[in-house]
Amino acid sequence: MVMIFWWVTALLLIAALAVWAITFWNRRAMRRSPVLVANSQYMDRIPSFVRAQRTARIVRVLQVGVAVLAVISASVLSGRIASERIETPEFSSRDIVLCLDVSGSMYEYDTEILATFAEMVDGFEGERVALSIFNSTSRTVFPLTNDYDLIQRELEAASEAIDFDEFGYRLGSQDYSDEKVRQYVEFVDGTRGIPDEASVVPDGLASCAQVFDQAEQDRSRSIIFATDNEVNGEPIFTLEEATERVATRKIDLYTFYPGPYECGPQCFEELQTATEDQDGALYESSDPQAIPSIINEIQKTQAEVLGATPTVVRTDHPMVGFVLTFLTLVGILLLGWRAR
C-alpha cells in the first residue's frame, strides 16, 4: 500500500491545520458584537435549557469530530492510496516445461520444485506450464496449458505424490500408508517402460523438448530440468545431442543438479558441459530448501534474457476513503442542519 500523491495529503492536512490555527488565533476578532444581558443565572436551573445546552455541546463535539474525520478522509482520498505490483508483461508469453527426473534419488528435490511452482502459479498471467516426468521412459503429466486451476491442482498433487522415499520403503526403513503408496505408484506409472533401466536422462530431456507446441509463435520457451544425471541404461541420445536439440528449438535450459548420488564428479561435469555449451544455466545445491531461491534466480535470469522491464502496476483503492468522505460530508450536513 502506497500513497501516490502523499504530498497532496500532507498539503491538505497542513492547510487544514493552518486554517484551524488562523481561526483559533482570531476567534476573538470573529466574535460578533455580543448582547449583554443580566440576571440570567436562573437559566441553569431550568431543565429544558440545561438539556438544550448539553445537546448542543454533544452536537458540537460530534461536528468537530466529523469535520476532522472528513478532512482526514478527504486528504487520504486525494492522496490516492494504491497497491503496487511489479509486473513483467513479457512473462505472459512464456512457456515453461518442468522436466523432472523421478528416479528414487531425486524425490526430495522434485517435491520442492513442484511445491514452489504450485505457489508461483497464483502470480502467473498468460504463462503456460507443462509437467513432464521421466525415469527410464517419459510421461507428460499435463501438457502446456494456462488453466491455472488445473496446473495448481496437478502440481500440488504431484508434489505430494512424489514425496516418497522408494528406497527406504523397499528396504523397510520407511513405512507409508496404502493410500500414499497408491498415489506414488499412480504418479510414476509410465515412467518405467524399460525394465532394469532407470534415469535415462538424455531421452527424458529430448522428450521434454517435444512438449512445446505453437512452434510458429514468438514465445519464450524454457525447460527447468532437474536431474542428478546418473544414467542406468542405454539412451538413444547422448546428453550433448539432447541439449543441442533443445537449443535448436530456441529453448532455454535451466538445469538443476542436486549433487552426486552414486556417480562421481564426471556425471556432474558432463551435465555442466552439456548445459553450458548450449548457453544454458546450471544451478547446484544439495539442499532442497534452496530450490525456491533458485527458481527465483531462474525467473530473474529469464527476465533479463527477455529484456522484460519490470513495470510498476498501481491499483487505486479509493473505496474506503470515498465512502468515509461521503459519509462524513453527509454527517456534517445533517449535524449542521440539526444544530441550526
Binding site: P34, V35, V37, A38, N39, F49, A52
Partner: protein
C-alpha cells in the same frame, strides 16, 4: 459629551411629554410630589420680598388683597435616589437600549423635577467595596454630578447586584425622611428584601422604578452572541431557538416579576416596570400621576 446630562434629560422629557402630561411638569411640578412636608396651611397677605410667583391669584381675586400660599412646614423637600449601579445595570434593557441610560433618564427626571422646585437631592449607590454617597443638595452642578456619578459607576466591571446591601445602606445613611426613588432592574429588589423594604418604608416615601431585562435567549438575533455580564457563558443557538426553552424562561421571568410586584404591593410601595430608555419617561409620568390621584383621594 459636551451637553450636560441634565440638559439631555430635559430634552428627552420635553420630547416624551405629551400635552396631557404637560401640566405635571409645568406649574413648578407642584402636583407631582405631594408629600407630608408640603401640606398647605394658610394664606397670608403679600409682603414685599415674598415671591410674586407664590401669589394665590384665585384667593387674591376673591379677597381683593394679594394673598400668598403659606406652608406649615419647610418648603424645601428632600429627595433621594437609590441607584443600583451594579454590573447588571450596564446590560441591555428589554427594548434593546441600555439599562444604564434608562436609569440615568429616570434619575434625571427626578433631578429635573427637583430642580424646578429647588428640592434637595441626595444619592446612595455603589457596592460594598465601592460605596457611593452624595449629600442632599439642590444646585444644578450637584444634580449634574449626581447623574454623572451614577452613569460612570455603572460599568460591566462593577460589582454584581446586591439589593440587600444597597437597601441597608440607604436606610443607614439617609437619616432624614425623604421621597426615595429606588432605581433597579426587574430582578430586584428580591423577595428576600421584604424586611429591609418594610423598615425603609417606615422612614421614607418609596418609589421603585424597575427596568426590564433583555430576553437572555435573543432567539431572533442569532447573529449576536448573548453574554451575561455576571456569568459570561456561551449559550448555544440550539438553546436560544428552542421553543420549549423560551417558554420555560418566559415562565420563570414572569414568576419572578410577579413575586417582586406582589411584595411591593403588599408594602404599598409605588412601583413600575419599564421596558427601557424609550418608555421610562412615559412610565414615570404615569406612575407619578397615579400617585397624585392616590394622594388626592387619601
Amino acid at each position: 459629551m459636551a451637553t450636560s446630562l441634565l440638559t439631555r434629560v430635559k430634552a428627552r422629557v420635553d420630547l416624551h411629554t405629551s400635552h396631557r402630561a404637560r401640566g405635571l411638569i409645568q406649574g413648578r411640578g407642584r402636583s407631582l410630589f405631594k408629600g407630608s412636608g408640603e401640606d398647605f396651611d394658610d394664606l397670608k397677605y403679600y409682603q414685599p420680598g415674598d415671591k410674586v410667583s407664590d401669589i394665590d391669584w384665585k384667593a387674591t381675586a376673591r379677597s381683593g388683597e394679594p394673598l400668598i400660599r403659606q406652608f406649615n412646614e419647610e418648603r424645601v423637600r428632600h429627595l433621594s435616589i437609590v441607584a443600583d449601579t451594579s454590573s447588571a445595570m450596564a446590560a441591555t434593557a428589554a427594548d434593546g437600549t441600555s439599562k444604564r441610560e434608562a436609569m440615568i433618564l429616570a434619575a434625571g427626571m427626578v433631578c429635573f423635577l427637583a430642580q424646578k422646585n429647588g428640592d434637595l437631592v441626595g444619592m446612595v449607590a455603589g457596592s460594598e467595596s465601592r460605596p457611593i454617597q452624595l449629600p442632599s443638595r439642590s444646585s444644578d452642578g450637584h444634580l449634574e454630578l449626581l447623574l454623572r456619578t451614577a452613569q460612570q459607576a455603572t460599568t460591566t466591571a462593577a460589582a454584581p447586584a446586591s439589593s440587600a446591601w444597597l437597601l441597608e445602606r440607604a436606610f443607614r445613611v439617609t437619616t432624614r425622611p425623604t421621597l426615595m426613588t429606588i432605581i433597579t432592574d426587574e430582578a430586584h429588589p428580591t423577595v428576600e428584601d421584604f424586611t429591609l423594604l418594610r423598615r425603609l418604608k417606615t422612614r421614607h416615601d418609596l418609589i421603585v422604578i424597575r427596568i426590564a431585562d433583555a430576553d437572555p435567549l435573543q432567539g431572533t438575533a442569532l447573529e449576536h452572541d448573548v453574554v451575561d455580564v455576571d456569568s459570561p457563558r456561551e449559550i448555544a443557538s440550539m438553546a436560544r431557538t428552542s421553543r420549549k426553552v423560551a417558554r420555560d424562561v418566559a415562565a420563570y421571568r414572569q414568576a419572578r416579576r410577579d413575586g417582586v410586584e406582589e411584595m411591593l404591593d403588599r408594602l404599598h410601595i409605588s412601583h413600575m416596570l419599564t421596558q427601557g430608555e424609550s418608555t421610562v419617561v412615559d412610565d414615570m409620568i404615569a406612575l407619578l400621576r397615579s400617585r397624585e390621584y392616590r394622594h388626592a383621594r387619601s
